[in-house]
Symmetry: D2
Subunit: 294 residues, 4 copies
Amino acid sequence: MKVGFIGIGRMGAAMADRILGAGHDIGVYNRTPGKTDDLVKRGAKQLASASEAARYGDVLITMLENDHALSHVAHGHEGLVATLPKGGVHLAMGTHSVSLIQALTEAHEKAGQTLVSAPVLGRPPVAAAGQLGIITGGPADAVAKCQPLFEAMGRRTFDGGLKPAGAAAAKIANNFVLVCAIEALSEGFALAEKSGVAPSNFLEVLTDGLFASPAYKIYGKLIVEQGYLGEPGFAAVTGLKDVNLALAAGDAVSVPLPSGNVCRDRLLSAVARGDGQRDWSVLALEQKRASGMA
Amino acid sequence: MKVGFIGIGRMGAAMADRILGAGHDIGVYNRTPGKTDDLVKRGAKQLASASEAARYGDVLITMLENDHALSHVAHGHEGLVATLPKGGVHLAMGTHSVSLIQALTEAHEKAGQTLVSAPVLGRPPVAAAGQLGIITGGPADAVAKCQPLFEAMGRRTFDGGLKPAGAAAAKIANNFVLVCAIEALSEGFALAEKSGVAPSNFLEVLTDGLFASPAYKIYGKLIVEQGYLGEPGFAAVTGLKDVNLALAAGDAVSVPLPSGNVCRDRLLSAVARGDGQRDWSVLALEQKRASGMA
Amino acid sequence: MKVGFIGIGRMGAAMADRILGAGHDIGVYNRTPGKTDDLVKRGAKQLASASEAARYGDVLITMLENDHALSHVAHGHEGLVATLPKGGVHLAMGTHSVSLIQALTEAHEKAGQTLVSAPVLGRPPVAAAGQLGIITGGPADAVAKCQPLFEAMGRRTFDGGLKPAGAAAAKIANNFVLVCAIEALSEGFALAEKSGVAPSNFLEVLTDGLFASPAYKIYGKLIVEQGYLGEPGFAAVTGLKDVNLALAAGDAVSVPLPSGNVCRDRLLSAVARGDGQRDWSVLALEQKRASGMA
Amino acid sequence: MKVGFIGIGRMGAAMADRILGAGHDIGVYNRTPGKTDDLVKRGAKQLASASEAARYGDVLITMLENDHALSHVAHGHEGLVATLPKGGVHLAMGTHSVSLIQALTEAHEKAGQTLVSAPVLGRPPVAAAGQLGIITGGPADAVAKCQPLFEAMGRRTFDGGLKPAGAAAAKIANNFVLVCAIEALSEGFALAEKSGVAPSNFLEVLTDGLFASPAYKIYGKLIVEQGYLGEPGFAAVTGLKDVNLALAAGDAVSVPLPSGNVCRDRLLSAVARGDGQRDWSVLALEQKRASGMA
């Protein structure tokens, strides 16, 4: 299969490499040059522009960091909507807002093209191992066309429905449930600790039973060990962006998300106090501050 | 070991039975008569009053439903504080408020007795199998004295520190983290569903990875299948009581719990609309109502 | 008219003095002695106990600081319920919880007595000038019986209905609306100031038009001038008590108060950070902290 | 003075009429034709496009409904930034987002022009009477240049600082304080009413003293009389837009607005339930629903 790929960051590089490894013909483009060198050495074709990528193959993949980057590459004279061949499929795999995915769905449709939204679950090492979870949203035939690519990149797919915006919402809602869990942990730990319970013991209570899952183990440990003071895994500002995506998605369909408000406010305070680049488990530090513990 | 046991409800009966099965000499008392019959047939001694139970053995266990019941049995002329022998240990295993446990700690101390707080994790079937998780709080020697009993009833203990109130707070905080998870799920599912994603698919997204734990699987399923309309596992009013315990515990140590506020308000609305006896996953129905979906 | 009066604090002293000044025969009792001296000099009768006050006249007034004080004086062998003559009226003028007023209503009724709840609006200088607002709740004939006393103490009465608990709720709800206004001001000022608007100018915007009322003028000024760092008019801990009364009143009738949660959490943080004795406009300082401005 | 005016809606028409009445030479443009007829009859010059308005006089006023309308007219080939003469002043009097005003400030600056932001306080009848409150933000000389216009339209100006975005924030913050007051009233009335107090009596309690201001009198009355079921003064969807402006303004400067979250969620629920076109005091209906009263 012939594939264009735009966005060779840490995630994109790992995903493109998996596609290459599965024997597909892949052409790659990245705004900042140099990032594609390794892939080109291993057989990918270097492309000079987004429009070249759009015209390269049967499917065009974008793996971009945020709405701004995708919007920038999609619109305008040499943008994806203008240059993707009629009948072409744009497979957007970044985490984007429901409203952008919705707008792009309509723009592609109008141009006789199809948008498939397929945001992924997993960090770069997971992507490198081809173990991503992939939530698919779009017309059945277009999703089917992308299936060989999903198999190259992922452990499995989840059916996000026939609307690209649905898959976007599912990814956003998944991250939303996660940030709420981190916030609840932050509150629970503050309560336990200030009541005289050793945080590590409270972590055992939680993760031994009901909450024996990666989310609680990973973030519980970060909180207990104050890992948020060290190297960030996922920055608070990015977390804030994700919470804002959830609140905006809620706004779009009139769904209030009161737990999300709590997370948003704590992350805003973290940013206001200069902790925006810390790991988003810094929510626990904010909770401690609000409790007079820090 | 000789043990008095007050409170033979569903949990208490299972726990007392485990103690009996481990070969201890147990005397049982329950305010409503009849509940102790089975235990007595199997060898427990029937006691006529709380004070008889207090005087029966080396340790007195209470397993009562709420603060009111424990407070009632503890105070007054024939109450536990007045009748437990000097040097005696009161092992309180119900879920109680930090303030009551704190007050009782002081009252027992003043009377030359010791309170150990040891709330449990698990429902009646878990108790019947001797698989409870037990969070212990109290002076080390008093906790050690209760160890054979913990072994009879539980899968393991968690160290809740040297203050009984700490163990109470840890149990309350555990339930708090749970209700927050149910609320976050409720919000996430509403967002996903109203955005066009099948709830069962969103449940797969969540529980396949980060949230592969009993809490999310059980409550996710209840939400997807609207199980809150059926037989309740844990009533909303009881959930509200637990959230209020958490907020009161936070008040006692000046720890704000903003996520808890959200849960409290949704549960209050559920009660206001006549759903207080439904399972507390009725939070999802409240979220649907607030989203114009129900 | 013959009146017993319990609770000669700053408010009580001013109110009792007004009654005395209106020509009524008043007997006064205060737990801490000495507080009644001035009144006695001016003609009040010194009473030795709460029960003496209960038996002194046609109406017994209590003006106590909190639930604990009222509960203490009401119950027990020599308490008000036990000693107030059959047919007697207990006029409770402090700010108390709905649940205590409800319980006391029932206790008095059972004893053939009547409770009237009549919480007041206004600080000590207002009380001294006989300009209090008085919210009355209770059976019409009992309220009518107290009318001459209301006239001596107040500028006017507000009809809080036939249930004493209603008047209590109205007072609590009034304070609730106030604390919400202070919180909203705190947030608005932080937004304006951090956006580059001089706080004093924003205060003019607000109070020149829509919010030209004492609440906004007084608290806006306190915020602009950081008056919360000076002498407190109303302590944050007392404000927190009042917010908790509101939330408890909401709990009693299943009314969620989400704006109240916000105030409660900010006040809890203030207390946690050692600002509990500052004026409750310290909410603005908490908001600044959460905004990285302090 | 020679003035171009874009945006002849109900507010714009009244404001342009005041300018005309003060003897200025005004040229008017409105996207939908016909709206300018009355003004033209009274002496205003009919203009054919936004760019004509931009080139018409010393100052160009825009009074547009929202960001979208202002953004549309400002950008592009024939937009205001491209066509306003060098040294010209754009006086933006609508309620706009901080981020749009900020972006427009920079765009005008780059083009050698000046933006003054001057949002107004007051409804159409107030505008017709020349009694608006006007919050000014921008460089001192540019604001001074607009002074004769402010005098024609307003009762007074408020100094919103030297940055146009500040004045925008002040207007947004003013509306924010108002919506929080309506929400707090909604909660307070629900509490009082469900506790047995007649709403009209509670309104008296509030507005007789601390809250004797237009905001509380007007909205208290709307709540007591369920005026939100009748003709809307200010639609819930517009209120939601304003709350979102406040939250976005808070986001821009890292100021969490927890009371705003509460209002946003209630308004979202109102919209979700089909009440988006009702008056925004429909917050009280939402509160009643959440309290099981409606």
